[in-house]
Each structure stands twice: as C-alpha cells, then as structure tokens.
C-alpha cells in the first residue's frame, strides 16, 4: 500500500460525481471527508515520517514531534483529497475505487477540492511556523508532486507513472528528518530511495492482477501498455535494485546488525517472490498477490526495525543501560 496504490477493495454501483446535482445541499458526513484523506495511506506516511524523525540525530520535544507528524499526516490527507477530486472520472470506472466519496456522489467535486486545498494550506503553514520551514517546503513539494505531477499529469500519460510518482510516497521520512534537524543528509536520502524503488514492484504486482480494471479506466499502467511479460521483468529488475538498497543503511553504518540481518533475510524473500512473479503467466496470479502482500510487510519490517534500533527504541535501551 503506497501513496499511489491505496484503495479499498470495493464493490457496488458506480456513479460519476460529474452527474450529481451541484445545487443540492451536501449529504457528506464526517466519514466521507475522512475517506477523502485516504487514511490507510496516511498511516503509512505517518509511520515512515516517524522513523525519519526518530532516527535523526537531533532531539525534538514530543509536542513538536507530534505537531510535525500531525502536519505531515494532514498534508498527505490533503494530497489524497486533491487526487480524489481530480480522478473522480477514472475512479468511477474502476472496481477498486468506484465507491470513493466523489464518484459515489456523496461529496461534490468542489467540496473535495476546497477540502484538499484548505488542508494543504494549513498543514504546510503550521509545519513551517511551528517546526521547520525546510520540512514545510518539502511537505508542500510532496503535495504538489502527488496532486499535480503524478495525478494530473503522469498517471494518464505514461506507464512510468508510478515510478516517478512514487517519489511522493518516498518523501515522508525526509520530511520527518528535516523537521528534527532542519536539514537533509545521506541517511534520509537512503530511506527515500528504499521507498522509491519499493513502489514499482509493489504496485505493478497489484496491477498484474488488476490489469483489466486499469484497461477499462484507460490508465496506461505498464501491464496494459507493455504487456504481462515486460511488467514481470520490470518487477524483478526493480526488486534486484531494491534489495541492496534495503541493506545499504547497515552497509553505511547508519543501522545496526539487527537491521542488516532483517533487511538481508526479508530482501531474499522479496527476490524469491519477484522471481516467482517473473516466471508466472496470466491468468495465474498467486505469485503477484504474494509479492504485493509481502512487499507491505517488507517495508514495514525495515522501518520498524530501524525505528526500534536507532530511534526511540534505541534511546530507551540506552536509558536502561545507564
């Protein structure tokens, strides 16, 4: 589940938001607005941002750390709302996204746009005024990148959409780090690269067994444009790049042995699953589903171990030792 792949498994009638009566008073409830913010994506964003913030070599008061994470979460929610506003037409044509609030007609497109812009403005301004302008600038760029570069441009234009657009989902650890230190260095860039190269195999594994859905929506996903075999090769190649990157924080001395062992073992499993995906052919989709599911666990493991080892868990261990 990345910033570009989130979506509930949805079924039911499909409506287009464009058809709804604009003058009709809104029936949108609080839950609809929460859904606009893509809460599952927000949880991943908060987790990776927390890791970036916690492993940074600077102390941030818990209240300020909470404020930074809140702003990053709300900023991610703003990007999600802007995405749902712009993509309502194609969301309505895909089973995975057809029951989102805008295509269902529960939230009007203008309401989603206003909600997204308001959240974006508040989150960036609050992060800048209260914590760090460097982090706020990164957050603003991330929202812009996801809503404009990915959603409005790349998604409908190129099969490399999720490769380049995946950068939006990779920025949160850098924002967390910048919130703590006010600057950037090699470590947060490594965390960025891990998520960046994790996104293609994760998302294309999903696209391999959702190809018809994307084709129906007219989205030029790699399996639709280049075919099944080419996509499976790309999944394998990106995983080959990803696994050494996953171990790199240990190689650079930025993480300890526990992280190194976790990254190596889980990376080997990723490679094995990617190899199985490479050797699988449609209509079989078991390997693709396995890789998609394990890729979520893989990313979670890397960041969780780093958080425990270098972040607050490490600090607690240090306190216990003294």
């Amino acid at each position: 589940m990345s910033l570009v792949s989130e979506g509930a498994d949805l079924r039911g009638p499909v409506f287009t938001g464009r058809d709804a009566a604009y003058a009709e008073p809104s029936l949108a409830g609080v839950g609809d607005y929460l859904a606009l913010m893509k809460p599952r994506v927000m949880s991943l964003v908060v987790f990776t941002a927390l890791t970036g913030l916690a492993v940074a070599p600077a102390h941030l008061h818990p209240v300020m750390a909470f404020t930074a994470l809140l702003c990053i979460a709300v900023g991610a929610g703003a990007a999600g709302a802007l995405n749902m506003w712009y993509d309502a037409d194609i969301d309505a044509r895909m089973v995975r996204t057809a029951r989102r609030p805008v295509p269902m007609g529960r939230v009007q497109p203008g309401e989603a746009l206003a909600f997204g812009l308001t959240l974006a403005g508040f989150s960036v301004a609050t992060l800048g005024l209260m914590v760090s302008w460097a982090a706020a600038a990164l957050l603003a760029f991330t929202i812009f990148f996801y809503a404009v570069v990915y959603t409005a441009w790349l998604k409908r234009a190129t099969p490399q959409n999720i490769v380049i657009g995946g950068a939006a989902g990779a920025f949160p650890p850098m924002i967390g780090w910048a919130a703590a230190t006010g600057s950037l260095s090699l470590e947060p860039v490594l965390l960025f690269l891990i998520i960046f190269f994790w996104t293609p195999p994760h998302f294309w594994a999903l696209a391999l067994y959702r190809t018809d859905d994307y084709a129906r929506a007219g989205i030029p996903m790699l399996p639709v444009v280049a075919g099944d075999g080419a996509t499976r090769l790309q999944v394998l190649l990106y995983t080959v790049i990803l696994v050494p990157l996953g171990v790199a924080p240990w190689g650079f001395g930025f993480a300890g042995l526990l992280y190194g062992a976790t990254a190596a073992i889980s990376g080997a499993v990723m490679l094995l699953l990617a190899w199985q995906v490479y050797n699988e052919r449609r209509p079989a989709d078991r390997a693709s589903r396995n890789l998609f599911a394990f890729s979520i666990l893989y990313l979670f493991l890397l960041f969780a171990v780093l958080l425990v080892e270098r972040g607050w868990g490490g600090a607690l261990l240090g306190w216990a030792a003294t």
Partner: protein, 55 residues
C-alpha cells in the same frame, strides 16, 4: 403565489441533510478546539520564542 413562498423559504434541508450538516459542524468544532489546545501546548513548550524555528 406558490413560487413566491418557495423563494422566501429558500433551500429547505431534508432530515438527512440536517444530520450531515450537524455532524460536519461538530467535527469542525472539535478540530478547532484541538488546534487551540495544540497551539497552547506549543506556546508552553517554546515559550516567548514560539515563532523562532530553524530554517
């Protein structure tokens, strides 16, 4: 005559629309109250230099 009365009444919300509006209003009130508490806590933490922050 009927048209004029309708105009004077303006937009009449259904019960469902009223409930939705009320839930949105409560959510906005809670969010604003939470922001007040957050900004107060930040002010206590940062003291007089609340707006001093690293670039």
């Amino acid at each position: 005559m009927d048209d004029k009365r309708t105009e004077e009444k303006g937009v009449v919300l259904s019960e469902a629309q009223k409930r939705a509006r009320r839930s949105r209003s409560i959510a906005i009130a809670i969010a604003l109250a939470a922001l007040v508490v957050l900004f107060y806590a930040i002010t206590l933490v940062k003291g007089p230099g609340v707006l001093n922050r690293p670039l």
